[in-house]
């Protein structure tokens, strides 16, 4: 295919590939300048408060500190990114903070640690204001006003209402009306590179130079010049390698202005890097929204009209909200044929981090809602869900209710091909239970007219001295290969090998203006500009040579990199020769999207030069016992115009689809009082390599007349239909429609269980009466009271950035170090939890005593009656031993499912048992009962408690998630502990006092774990369910059965992650011994595990999960 092209349509590896894969690429994190300072930002611990005063004096006196600034030091100017009408945020908070994590002050110091330490010396006097975290409450008349001045109703940032072609009339004429409400949470972009900036202000010239990973240096320059009150030409953005964008870097992130101001203040370069938690707390993620979709449908399936209402959570400040609203509207009525359309959208402020843009800009979720309804229409009308879609698909020449004029369009063909590739015709009537196939499609503008001042792109081409070309684009390549593609366009147009072309991106001095890489625009808009510039470059060569050669310019040919005049051998020059003759020169040109803008009020009107289309088909399977979903295959068929670089485009498809899987099934920020409590890459469950399914990609190339070499846009195409196709496949697999994204395994389990809820018999545990009464009193009395008394959400100064490290030579020396009175020492083995926990403020120590390499604590010994594992033996060392696998297969299998390979290589068995408790409130700095004592509440009672205990929880509901705990309990292991006075032995059964609290004293060290060996046949099984393979368990079961011939002699079953301690399932064990091992007996015995359970609001699924998992573990443990 594409034999007529030199480089178009050919797989080209990315230009930056060798630099990236060899570790030589320069990301912002990697840059340094002489005399550079390090900045750090103090963030608000309150979601809504007035700032009475900020005292920087102590911070300024701290070691290494060169400057400390707060909001009132900055120019009195607000960001204008969403348009002057929406300007509502200063570069740093001045009068008020409106979300937890907002920037309140900053310091610049000689080292990063000095800067961090100095933050603690800043005193801010806040007047705490009532806060609001959800849209519904924010719209009530009594809600606190987040921004005071507005012509709109309280907390409404924008209203977007329209009616095209009389939508209400359509509902009057309809034979069927479909009406459903959908909602979804906030997805975070999760760029592997966190935001950062290096700013360098030249006090003599007044020039401010910025290195920052931004999708749009154009915006960075404009915003920073504005909020720093500098002339635009004095602000320079430079080229860097960017570690992922996905919309998360499409604006000017706040650290840039702060670093710029610190550099202006100090006259020295200042670098600020956000850590991962700050990235979650303050970075721009997606918006959450609620959507009500109503469709008016005629008897034959024609969609007469659709009305969509949506409520978008804007967060504290307006950044991308208005653009988001516009993008969401566009996906409601332009994909399939719809007669009339109406919208009622509201953008609503809450005291949460501001919404930004994430790949697809709300499209994947609105498409999910629409496509769910399309499925339901087909079901109601008895139509095949694929054929119905093909029937109502837009065709070339259609005009949508919003006024979009559809040009090239292969939507119907994409759907047909997707159906063929997934095998719909063969499979649809022969679907095995728990399996489903789902379809969804999408439309994407190529490329939308975004801003009056931004519907263009410029490209430069420099002829260099050696005859190579340098293409310049201000758009930023975040890893998508767009630089490579730009080079391909120029190479193709000039008939050159792509190898002779370099591409420089971002640099606002060296490259001409371009809005940036967002909204899938670069291939189309900047690509058209590249081709236009290449044509101008060719004309420039002709015009220059015309005077040298004294021939007419239009008779000079330029082919395959050689300029020539007819067959005249004397008039024939390569690019290098032209460069030698003329010297290096530059050509720039500009491409404008030349179509009228839609009506600014209603949004009606043709919107883009052309539109791209695509269809997806998903086949998946649900595990009915756990609710977990296995995506077997995703087919994606795209009408994306002509494919320019299949290698890069396939990568865009695959990457977007896997992000879409995350969005559909797992990803969301979980908030407590406006703070994301899952601000880590364990608890925020982005897809890992285990989650990647088979992805089958096909392109139906349409050769669009408006596109560069016929290409359309592509970056967002892949993610847009993925959640919808998955949800529709899940509906077939489970018979249930889900109205909330992500559709978690726990939701599936609860919605689809065939068995009735397990009988929990909570009265079997008298202690539950006390707990239940306390919980009943929580909302009105206990929680507010305890919050006032002792609880405050926020970073506690206990978080440690500095501590001492000592390495004792032997166990005795280690014990002496622990006993030292002048320091607060703590033993560290693998340190995978301790070092993280110190920064989270969940451990308290000023000295770490590293025992990882102590001989006395290492190694594995197999004795006649027991296996002895040194406490500091790593998980990997244990799981690699064949002899251990032969004796206790459950130990090997269970431990090899802990965390990830890198963690297992250093984490130790005793460390797994001793890790601090995993509760996302506790770990995210809540001043909770566990952290702050009696006067503080447990946040899990009223907060999101999906991971918490269902059994035996009292004042603290955190579960014990150490996988080794239930395994070693079921194996009757003994923990050998060394102290100053000698050794003592603690049976696993008694090892824990509470979650994260063991019977090992602060001045003791676990020396070994002894695991008894039965010389009778045993059979074992460990089952675990976790959010992702490597995450902490939501429930686990360890089964250890001993046999006397064919007769069950003993059963030891222990449960993990459902209670603060590993629980022995003694009633289940007794039932197995008494009632045998028939399927019904096992089922009944498994049901006993939850006797006495008292679930919280969000974790009732754990009861069902535990019963199913126990049943599965017992059955799987039985000998063949």
């Amino acid at each position: 295919m594409n034999a007529e092209f030199r480089t178009i349509g050919k797989p080209r590896p990315q230009l930056e590939g060798p630099a990236k894969v060899s570790g030589r690429a320069q990301y912002t994190h990697d840059l340094t300048l002489p005399n550079m300072l390090h900045g750090a930002i103090l963030r608000s611990p309150h979601p809504h408060a007035r700032i009475r005063s900020v005292d920087l004096s102590r911070a300024r006196a701290m070691p290494g500190v060169v400057a400390a600034v707060c909001g009132t030091d900055f120019p009195d100017l607000k960001y204008v990114n969403a348009g002057p009408a929406f300007a509502d945020r200063f570069a740093m908070a001045r009068d008020k903070v409106r979300f937890t994590g907002e920037e309140v002050a900053a310091v610049a110091a000689q080292t990063p640690v000095q800067a961090q330490v100095a933050l603690a010396a800043i005193t801010v006097d806040y007047e705490i204001l009532p806060a609001v975290y959800d849209v519904e409450t924010a719209l009530t008349p009594d809600a606190p006003a987040i921004h005071e001045k507005s012509d709109l109703p309280r907390n409404v940032a924008q209203e977007s209402i329209a009616d095209f072609d009389g939508v209400e009339q359509a509902f009057g004429d309809a034979a069927h009306i479909f009406d459903a409400t959908f909602e979804h949470g906030i997805v975070a972009p999760i760029c592997l590179e966190t935001n950062g900036v290096l700013a360098d202000y030249d006090t003599e010239t007044g020039d401010l130079t910025l290195w920052a990973p931004s999708q749009a240096p154009f915006f960075v320059r404009k915003e920073i010049a504005h909020v720093m009150d500098l002339p635009l030409e004095k602000v320079h953005a430079k080229s860097v390698v960017i570690g992922g964008g996905f919309g998360g870097k499409s604006q000017s992130p706040e650290p840039i202005a702060i670093a710029a101001f610190l550099s202006i203040t100090t006259g020295r370069p200042v670098k600020i890097l956000l850590n991962r938690q700050e990235e979650f707390l303050s970075g721009k993620s997606d918006h959450a929204k609620k959507m009500r979709v109503r469709s008016a449908v005629a008897a034959d399936g024609t969609i007469l009209g659709r009305h969509t209402e949506f409520w978008v959570d804007n967060g504290a400040y307006t950044h991308m909200g208005p653009a988001y609203i516009s993008a969401v509207r566009q996906r409601t009525c332009n994909l399939y044929r719809v007669g009339a359309a109406g919208f009622d959208g509201k953008l609503v402020h809450t005291n949460k981090v501001s919404g930004g843009s994430y790949r697809g800009m709300g499209s994947p979720q609105i498409i999910w809602a629409i496509e769910t309804q399309i499925d339901e229409i087909a079901e109601r009308l008895g139509k095949d869900k694929l054929e119905y879609r093909i029937e109502i698909a837009n065709r070339p020449g259609d005009r949508t209710p919003q006024g979009w004029e559809i040009g090239t369009c292969a939507l119907a063909e994409c759907l047909e091909e997707a159906g063929r590739r997934i095998g719909w015709a063969e499979k649809k009537d022969a679907m095995p239970p728990n399996r489903g196939i789902g379809f969804a499609a999408m439309i994407n503008p190529s490329v939308g007219v975004l801003y009056a001042e931004g519907n263009f792109a410029c490209v430069s081409i420099d002829l260099l001295e050696d005859g190579r070309l340098k293409v310049g684009t201000q758009s930023a390549d975040c890893g998508t290969s767009q630089n490579t593609v730009m080079g391909q366009f120029v190479a193709e147009e000039l008939g050159l090998d792509a190898d002779v072309i370099d591409v420089l991106h971002m640099d606002t001095d060296e490259t001409p203006p371009d809005l940036g890489s967002a909204a899938s625009r670069v291939t189309f808009v900047s690509g058209n500009a590249a081709i236009k510039t290449a044509k101008s470059f060719r004309a420039e060569i002709a015009s220059r040579l015309a005077s040298h050669w004294d021939v007419p310019a239009d008779e000079i040919d330029f082919t395959d990199g050689i300029a020539s005049y007819k067959d005249d051998n004397a008039r024939r020059l390569t690019l290098a020769e032209i460069a030698a003759l003329e010297g290096p020169f530059r050509v720039e040109d500009r491409y404008d999207i030349d179509i009228p803008r839609p009506d600014p009020k209603t949004g009606y009107g043709h919107y883009a030069a052309t539109y791209g289309f695509g269809a997806q088909a998903v086949e998946l399977e649900v595990d009915p016992a756990t609710g977990q979903v296995t995506v077997h295959k995703i087919v994606v068929v795209q009408d994306i115009g002509r494919v320019i670089n299949p290698l890069a485009l396939e990568g865009q498809m695959q990457g977007g689809i896997v992000q879409g899987i995350g969005m559909a099934l797992r990803e969301e920020l979980v908030f407590n009082d406006g703070v994301p409590v899952n601000a880590s890459l364990i608890t925020y469950k982005a897809p890992r390599i285990q989650d990647t399914p088979e992805i089958d990609i096909a392109f139906i190339e349409t050769d669009d007349p408006t596109g560069p070499y016929g290409a359309k846009a592509g970056g967002e195409h892949s993610i847009n239909p993925t959640p919808a196709a998955i949800a529709n496949a899940l509906a077939q697999a489970t018979g249930t429609r889900f109205r909330k994204l992500p559709i978690k395994a726990s939701d599936i389990l609860q919605a689809t269980a065939v068995k009735p809820s397990p009988d929990l018999k909570p009265w079997k545990r008298p202690y539950n009466l006390e707990v239940a009464s306390a919980r009943a009193l929580y909302p009105a009395i206990l929680y507010p009271g305890l919050r006032k008394l002792g609880g405050k959400l926020g970073r506690k100064p206990a978080a440690k950035t500095e501590y001492d490290y000592i390495r004792p030579k032997n166990l005795q020396e280690a014990l002496r170090a622990l006993a030292a009175q002048d320091r607060k020492a703590k033993v560290m083995a693998g340190g995978t939890d301790l070092q993280v926990g110190l920064r989270q403020g969940v451990y308290d120590a000023d000295t770490l005593v590293d025992i990882a390499d102590l001989e006395e604590l290492r190694g594995i010994a197999i004795a006649a009656d027991k296996v002895i594992v040194g406490a500091a033996t790593t998980i990997a060392e244990i799981t690699e031993r064949d002899d251990i696998r032969a004796i206790h297969p459950m130990l090997t299998e269970g431990l090899s499912r802990i965390a990830t390979a890198q963690i297992r290589n250093v984490a130790t068995i005793a460390g797994d048992l001793s890790q601090e408790k995993r509760c996302w409130f506790f770990r995210s700095g809540a001043q909770c009962y566990k952290a702050g004592g009696m006067t503080c509440p447990c946040y899990a009672v009223l907060g999101d408690n999906r991971h918490h205990s269902i059994l035996g929880a009292g004042r603290c509901a955190a579960p014990c998630v150490a996988d080794a705990a239930p395994i070693l309990t079921a194996l009757d292991a003994v923990v050998v502990v060394a102290g100053a006075g000698g050794e003592r032995r603690i049976p696993m059964q008694d090892f824990y006092i509470w979650s994260g609290k063991t019977r090992v004293a602060e001045n003791e060290i676990i020396r070994a774990i002894e695991i008894p060996r039965d010389h009778v046949p045993v059979s074992q099984r460990f089952e675990k369910v976790a959010g992702w393979d490597g995450d902490f368990a939501d429930a686990s079961v360890a089964v250890n059965l001993s046999w006397d011939g064919p007769k069950l002699a003993a059963a030891r079953i222990s449960l993990g992650a459902v209670a603060p301690l590993p629980v022995r399932a003694t009633r289940t064990e007794a039932a197995l011994l008494a009632d045998g091992l028939s399927d019904t007996a096992i089922e009944a015995a498994a049901g006993l595990t939850v006797e006495g359970a008292l679930p919280l609001s969000d974790n009732a699924y754990k009861a069902r999960l535990l019963v199913n998992l126990t049943e599965r573990a017992i059955k799987n443990s039985l000998p063949e």
């Binding site: 590896p13 990315q14 930056e16 060798p18 630099a19 990236k20 894969v21 060899s22 570790g23 030589r24 994190h29 990697d30 972009p189 592997l192 590179e193 390698v241 570690g243 992922g244 996905f246 850590n275 991962r276 975040c478 890893g479 998508t480 290969s481 290698l647 890069a648 990568g651 695959q654 990457g655 896997v658 992000q659 880590s680 890459l681 364990i682 982005a686 890992r688 390599i689 285990q690 992805i695 500095e802 001492d804 490290y805 390495r807 560290m828 693998g830 340190g831 995978t832 070092q835 993280v836 920064r839 770490l848 590293d850 390499d853 990997a876 990830t900 390979a901 890198q902 290589n905 250093v906």
Partner: protein, 156 residues
């Protein structure tokens, strides 16, 4: 007390604070900035280096613990103009996009292939579960690794 270690075949002695993460020592003192820090908490794998033959998150290894140990970083493989065959394959097959996770993935892969030159798909996925990549969806990475294994590129 100084720490003695070997980095990419070269003996090193440092007076740096033994409590700091190995990743910070590599990046700041040795200026080996190919090792990236994506989270600092051992959750993303971008900082993966090989320590005594095993893949570890260098953000969670205190410098003091590297006493007497051998560390290998991405810089121990090919450079810009002379890539290791594994690196060349990853580039050619489009196995990464933004590249921030890539040095860590390469080092996880090196550690895996040294222990097990013929891993199956399940082993490959288990070994790379700790390396988060947001761009690629892992598909081209898995394809490239399949070819690396089939062609025995790590042995060259």
């Amino acid at each position: 007390m100084p720490t003695h270690l070997e980095v990419n075949g070269q003996a090193r002695e440092t007076e740096n604070d033994p409590a700091i993460p190995l990743a910070v020592y590599l990046r700041e003192e040795l200026e080996l900035r190919g090792t990236k820090i994506g989270c600092g908490n051992g959750e993303c794998g971008a900082c993966t280096v090989v320590m005594d033959g095993r893949a570890v998150c260098s953000c969670l290894v205190p410098l003091g613990r590297t006493e007497g140990r051998r560390i290998e970083t991405i810089e121990s493989l090919g450079d810009l103009n002379n890539l290791h065959p594994i690196q060349r394959k990853l580039v050619e097959r489009g196995a990464f996009q933004c590249g921030f996770c890539t040095p860590g993935i390469v080092m996880s892969l090196i550690a895996l292939l040294r222990r097990n030159p013929r891993p199956d798909d399940a082993k490959i996925r288990t070994a790379l579960q700790g390396n988060l990549c947001r761009c690629s969806g892992y598909v081209k990475l898995l394809e490239a690794i399949g070819e690396i294994v089939r062609e025995g590129l790590h042995e060259r």
